[in-house]
């Protein structure tokens, strides 16, 4: 099992959720994060004092998947989350050693 962590542009979330669902992904967890990278922030100004907004709003999607699905999930994410503009984000794949569904105690693939 892998934990696929994707940092994406916020307005892509709905498409991602739909695409992954039709791939057979049954759950995912998202959070609002701020990203720093090649895409730069902007400067706001209030009554003559500036302040830099270095970080941009991004969405982090975390998906626990069985090894068999990993490639297809990555592929799908690359297609759906891509605008071709700077700031589209990253995917990181991290190993999961155990997974448990709290409600039933099921483990591993059955837990996802």
């Amino acid at each position: 099992m892998k934990l696929i962590i994707a940092i994406v542009k916020p307005f892509k979330l709905d498409d991602i959720r739909e695409a992954l669902t039709s791939l057979g992904v049954e759950g995912l967890t998202v959070s609002e994060v701020k990203g720093y990278g090649r895409q730069k922030g902007h400067t706001e100004i209030y009554r003559g004092a500036e302040y830099a907004v270095h970080f941009l709003p991004k969405i982090k999607v975390e998906i626990g998947v069985d090894d068999s699905l990993v490639d297809r999930v990555i592929e799908t994410l690359c297609t759906v989350a891509k605008t071709g503009q700077i700031g589209d984000g990253k995917i990181f794949v991290v190993p999961i050693e155990q997974a448990v569904r709290i409600r039933t105690g099921e483990t591993d693939a059955a837990a996802l």
């Binding site: 701020k34 902007h42 706001e44 100004i45 209030y46 302040y51 907004v53 970080f55």
Partner: protein
């Protein structure tokens, strides 16, 4: 009249002016709560600037167009201390406070439009539209109905036996504002993503119900000044106007609650719809008539807002056309019905005159709205670029968002 009595009239009209001025804050917060977070600052700046621009245009041009009065004499003349022959001003500066009162009405027109075109209209072109509307379009119709201009009311009286009756502006202000806004909204087009590929409406959720409720409360409170102080003198004041405004408001609330199935947006807008509708006949209808007028206005808003949004796919953000345009027109007509003595009213009103007057207002507003915004669109452009719209008016126009501290992480 003694200085005391004119003073009391000044005080009376002043309180009306303050109350209607406060309503502009209401317009601002109603829009703040209804738009998305990224457009809240722009809503605030638009309304306060529209008010300022309107006041100046109305002072130098509009008021003269409507009533033939100019303020280019010295202060002693303006306050009636010294008479200048031709256009005598009353004592205690009564005419000046009356200007204040009527200026807050005039400025309501761009405030109404602002709510319809929110979230995608450019800032300065809208300021330009405000100039033209408040200096010319509105005062022409205002002058026809309230200022004895163009022989309009004389003609009405010839035809119908009585003039067109619009006590506090269901038609002169609200219908006018609502139909001008409809023109603007049509020319401007819907917000990005408002309707999806298959043409279905996509809910763009409001940022904050408490802020829009605050706006509504301020509008409701100020509205009693809008209506009652339209008497413009203490000898003319009538408690009937007050109770009718109250009854129409609560009628609108209950009707919108039920037809709108507890929706907080509808409930609060229902109050406003009732108040819009009662302006015209508030001085002549019976309180129970007012209750009915308000209830019908509340239903009308709930029904027509949904039809407009979901079926006709017109993207009027705050719903100003059904709110001011339709409820206002209903109010203009209803005054001719519920004002009749047969229905417990005070009479002196004609249904024919009311329908004609209302249609005149709609015709002027709709054609002026379409013409003006088409012209602006063709010349300076009226709409944000897609990127600007996506980024939001706050960053685009004001370089700051509504909660700057929260934009900075780790601050």
């Amino acid at each position: 009249m003694t200085a005391f009595q004119t003073g009391a009239d000044v005080f009376f009209v002043l309180m009306g002016a303050i109350l209607v001025f406060a309503m502009h804050g209401g317009f601002a917060f109603l829009e703040v709560g209804t738009v998305q977070h990224k457009n809240q600052v722009n809503a605030l700046v638009k309304i306060i600037v529209d008010f300022a621009v309107s006041t100046i245009c109305y002072f130098f041009i509009g008021y003269t167009v409507a009533y033939g009065v100019t303020f280019l004499s010295n202060a002693a003349i303006l306050t009636g201390q010294v008479s200048a022959g031709g256009a005598p001003f009353a004592g205690s500066g009564y005419d000046l406070v009356k200007f204040f009162f009527l200026a807050t009405f005039a400025a309501a027109i761009p405030a109404i439009i602002s709510g319809g075109i929110a979230e995608r209209a450019r800032f300065w072109p809208q300021v330009a539209a405000t100039v033209i509307i408040v200096a010319l379009v509105y005062p022409v119709f205002e002058g026809m109905v309230w200022g004895e201009r163009l022989g309009y009311q004389a003609w009405m009286t010839d035809v119908f036996g009585v003039p067109f009756h619009d006590f506090a502006g269901s038609v002169v202000v609200h219908t006018m504002g609502g139909w001008l806004a409809l023109g603007a909204v049509l020319i401007l087009g819907a917000r990005q993503g408002r309707y999806n590929a298959s043409g279905r409406v996509v809910g763009i959720p409001p940022s904050s119900i408490p802020w829009l409720a605050l706006g509504t409360w301020i509008l409701c409170i100020g509205w009693f000044g809008f209506n009652v102080m339209s008497a413009q003198s203490l000898s003319g004041v009538s408690g009937l106007v007050a109770i009718n405004s109250l009854m129409a408001m609560v009628g609108g609330i209950i009707a919108a609650l039920i037809t709108g199935r507890n929706d907080p947006g509808f409930v609060h807008n229902g109050a406003l719809a009732g108040l819009v509708a009662i302006c015209a006949g508030s001085d002549i209808v019976h309180p129970i008539g007012a209750l009915v007028i308000g209830a019908v206005a509340g239903c009308l808003f709930v029904m027509m807002f949904q039809i407009m949004q979901n079926r006709w796919k017109i993207d009027d953000v705050l719903g100003v056309w059904p709110l001011h345009g339709l409820a206002g027109a209903w109010g203009g007509v209803a005054a001719g019905l519920f004002g009749l003595q047969a229905l417990g009213g005070l009479g002196g009103v004609s249904l024919g005159a009311q329908i004609t007057g209302t249609l005149t207002g709609i015709a002027i507003a709709m054609s002026a709205g379409l013409a003006l915004y088409s012209l602006l669109k063709a010349t300076i452009g009226i709409r944000f670029s897609p990127e600007e719209e996506a980024q939001g008016a706050d960053l685009t126009v004001h370089k700051i968002r509504a909660n700057p501290e929260a934009d900075i992480i780790g601050g």
